[in-house]
């Protein structure tokens, strides 16, 4: 037995290395490697989506003696076809960190004391009820995550919006993809990408807009590189504000000054029109032109409010608007040469080339995030390169279920599982499915994420329950929000798997089941819903976030709305939830189908997945009798928007003379609370650092590893320098990864946001540097 078990472990080890090699050396083949997976079942393999990024790779989790021991890529999953990145391969080790939270804790006389989980749940229900009775329904809130499973988010929304009657439901996906949503809604009237990953196998040109895919979506990036290797006519352009691993592997790297992507996108449209590369058949049939408000602000003040107003314009008006964006004028604003702007425009404009644009945080974490999303759609719409294989404006998502749980379930203050709280019919639908009086659902949204934590600081919110996220590392302008959470009469509940700076501010900590310790579903970037079973048992008293919420709901008297038992709740919740999406525009697969397959794309109509939406050949929801139907909008057209360049909320000046840009590294997932407990990943990048341009470093007199103080108007941190590391910022910019709680870079960042999406801009604020 033992020998066989070790043989299988060696198999898992080999499979991990072979696939890692495949990711690093696209197309690498290992002919001598025997596939042993069909041998004895000493390790049993079960499918799941990867726990980490929004790529949504399918994995097989190997279990031996009730313990997850290995991961390999799932060859049946079309996302990754058996590949994984290093985070995926090592992911099972995150389950077994030695400081895993396994018992509930409650603050008593200032100390956190272990209690039976049922006692903690009693206390949460009691506190929630009393706070609501004393301070009103909008004094209680829940803050979740794009790492919530779909059932987690669904029960949270049902309890808070449907039963308690407050729209105080938000999720950290507000910080990562809200601008993508408002981009889709304003351009197409319906959320989520029209294309799919298969676009990569057809496109001739890939343009990454501020998107370091080599580190953030590595499996997709290697699929892109594999395509370039296999086909001769593939070009990759990296359009970014700093040089990264993506730039190194690209055919051409073009750097722009922060925020000026707005101007460059407009200049590309200018060139397309000037050279008559417009696809007139497409534009005349399927596009209408609009403008909105300008000088829209930055949201840095409490209670900031903004509502955009769309006005129809003509093509001629749009053309006139673009006169301000000739490549020569934009060269001065952006630092991108007119020649490079014309080069990019020519790629989009050439009718013989299929073009896919990818973006993620660079465009979304942007004080004009909605606008820049609109502008990239403008380019694709003008040339009609959309909704067909290889022609795809593709907004990638960061988290494994930002799409599935936050966008589709609607765990944002204004959203419902179908539609928005402001719409009477959508409220009626929710009330009927949830079996609550329609008057329970408040038609007014309350707080988006930044404003929710401001309300906690002000005392408008007194009770907050935080699940599957770590806002005491990730909130911009962090000090204000940490101080707010620590105020005396605030009650903070945190459900998590490891101690974090967020559990540090908690009054109650609940031990949560992690990933395959529970059953659930995620939804990835390409509209794919992925089911996973409970593959191993959660440790100690840990329970799923879904079941924690149900326990509290039952205590609050909502047994009727939450009638399920622990044996069958996930399947029952799924079947209830999918009623919201019935119909060809968003039909979801049944629970039974999801259990069998390695992910299913919606709309899933008559047993068929929809790969290209709005294209009548592929999408059964198209009804206008034409080749394309942009049915999200009442006019059945996609909207082109005239959106100007406006500067960032804070730019370098004589006092604070550097841009600060923040982000991630391939080894770590977000705040590192899981990946820093995986030895291989932790040892690869054990601590954070500040990337400096070599000339700036020389001027400052610092060498690699020396400490640098980064100071903004909000705070400061001291952090080791990295010069000529994996990323090189241009002169006048520094970059800091945010995975390391020992170096809280968000003490320094600014809580400015896009006034339409309310998503903060983590990529741009002004700092100065000192040698420490």
């Amino acid at each position: 037995m033992k020998l066989n078990r070790r043989r299988f472990l060696k198999y898992a080890a080999a499979s991990s290395a072979v696939a890692t090699a495949g990711a690093i050396f696209p197309g690498a083949s290992f002919g001598s490697w025997q596939n042993l997976s069909n041998n004895s079942g000493l390790i049993s393999w079960q499918k799941a989506p990867c726990r980490f990024c929004g790529t949504g790779c399918g994995v097989l989790v190997g279990v031996s003696d009730g313990r997850a021991v290995a991961v390999k890529g799932d060859p049946n999953c079309s996302v990754n076809k058996g590949l994984c990145c290093m985070k995926g391969y090592h992911s099972v080790q995150m389950l077994y960190g030695k400081d895993r939270i396994t018992k509930a804790k409650v603050r008593k006389d200032g100390e956190m004391v272990e209690v039976p989980i049922q006692e903690a749940l009693d206390l949460i229900a009691d506190k929630l009820q009393k706070t609501k009775d004393k301070h009103g329904k909008d004094s209680v809130a829940i803050y979740g995550s794009g790492q919530w499973t779909i059932p987690d988010g669904y029960v949270a929304s049902k309890l808070f919006k449907g039963c308690l009657g407050t729209n105080n439901v938000e999720a950290n996906a507000r910080l990562c993809m809200a601008s993508a949503v408002t981009g889709f809604m304003t351009s197409f009237g319906i959320d989520e990408p029209m294309g799919c990953y298969e676009d990569m196998d057809h496109a001739n040109v890939f343009i990454t807009w501020g998107n370091n895919m080599a580190e953030m979506h590595p499996v997709l990036y290697s699929r892109m590189l594999a395509n370039r290797k296999r086909r001769t006519n593939v070009t990759i352009i990296d359009f970014a504000t700093r040089s990264t691993r993506t730039s190194q592997a690209a055919d051409k790297s073009i750097l722009f000054r922060p925020q000026t992507d707005l101007a460059v996108a407009n200049a590309i449209c200018y060139e397309i029109i000037k050279n008559d590369w417009v696809n007139w058949n497409f534009v005349n049939e399927h596009v209408s032109f609009h403008k909105g408000k300008t000088n829209i602000g930055y949201g840095t003040e409490d209670h900031f409010a903004f509502k955009d107003k769309a006005e129809g314009i003509s093509f001629e008006d749009f053309k006139l608007f673009l006169e301000d964006y000739t490549p020569e004028k934009v060269e001065k604003i952006s630092g991108v040469s007119a020649k490079d702007i014309k080069y990019m425009a020519a790629l989009y404009g050439d009718p013989s080339l299929k073009v896919t644009s990818f973006w993620c945080m660079g465009m979304n974490q942007h004080t004009r995030g909605t606008w820049i999303n609109n502008l990239v759609y403008n380019i694709h719409l003008l040339v009609g390169k959309i909704s067909t294989p290889g022609n795809s404006p593709f907004s990638l998502t960061g988290q494994p279920s930002a799409c599935g749980t936050v966008r589709e379930v609607g765990t944002l203050t204004h959203k419902l599982p179908h539609g928005v709280v402001m719409n009477e019919h959508h409220r009626e639908m929710a009330a009927e499915i949830w079996d609550v009086p329609v008057a329970n659902i408040d038609p007014k949204p309350t707080y988006h994420t930044v404003e929710m934590f401001r309300a906690l600081d002000r005392g408008d919110i007194k009770f907050i329950w935080i699940q599957v996220t770590n806002p005491m590392v990730t909130m911009p302008n962090l000090k204000r929000y940490r101080d707010g959470a620590l105020k005396d009469d605030r009650f903070v509940v945190v459900s998590d798997v490891y101690p974090t700076p967020t559990t540090d501010v908690a009054d109650v900590i609940l031990p949560a089941a992690l990933w395959v310790e529970q059953e659930g579903m995620f939804g990835n970037s390409e509209r794919r819903t992925q089911h996973f079973a409970e593959i191993v048992k959660p440790p100690g008293d840990a329970m799923s976030d879904t079941w924690q919420i149900i326990e509290v709901a039952k205590r609050l008297g909502f047994e009727k709305q939450f009638p399920w038992t622990q044996d069958d709740y996930i399947g029952k919740i799924w079947e209830e939830y999918r009623k919201f999406h019935a119909g060809p525009k968003h039909e979801m697969a049944s629970y039974e189908v999801l259990k069998k397959r390695s992910g299913v794309q919606w709309p899933f109509v008559d047993g068929k997945e929809t790969r290209w939406r709005f294209n009548a050949k592929h999408d059964p929801a198209c009804t206008n009798g034409k080749d394309f139907d942009f049915y999200g909008k009442k006019d059945h057209k996609a909207w082109i928007w005239a959106r100007p360049y406006e500067p960032a909320a804070e730019s370098p000046d004589s006092e604070y003379n550097f841009w600060l840009n923040t982000g991630r590294v391939i080894e770590h997932w977000h705040t590192g609370s899981m990946t820093r407990r995986i030895p291989v990943l932790h040892n690869a990048v054990p601590s954070s650092y500040v990337e400096l341009n070599p000339e700036d470093a020389a001027e400052l007199g610092v060498v690699n590893g020396e400490m640098v103080k980064i100071i903004s108007r909000r705070g400061e941190i001291t952090i080791p320098a990295q010069i000529k590391g994996r990323g090189i910022p241009p002169r006048g910019m520094v970059f800091v990864p945010f995975f390391d709680e020992s170096y809280l870079i968000n003490e320094v960042t600014l809580d400015a946001f896009c006034p339409i999406s309310k998503q903060p801009d983590y990529k741009k604020c002004a700092v100065r540097l000192e040698k420490a």
């Binding site: 070790r6 080890a13 290395a17 050396f25 290992f30 490697w33 021991v69």
Partner: protein
């Protein structure tokens, strides 16, 4: 009783020599790539002392440019948790 897998990258043009050297080391199995300059190395040592010895031998290989860990499993750690 650790099991590890690595990507072994040979120094320029030395893949054959690297494969030959690794094949002679105890507790090592190799899977060379057919078309790329990379070799998968799987090690399976009975105890920590042997593992340390092996690590030293690996470090001394002239034909080895770099070794990146892809997978790690250690029985001892499991019992300790």
């Amino acid at each position: 009783m650790p099991i590890f897998s690595y990507l072994a990258i040979p120094t320029s043009g030395a893949k054959e020599i690297l494969c030959a050297s690794l094949a002679t080391l105890p507790h090592c199995e190799i899977i060379p790539s057919d078309n790329q300059e990379v070799v998968v190395l799987v090690t399976d040592t009975p105890d920590e002392a042997t593992e340390d010895e092996l690590q030293k031998s690996l470090k001394n290989l002239q034909s080895l440019q770099s070794l990146s860990l892809a997978f790690g499993y250690d029985d001892k750690k499991k019992k300790g948790r």
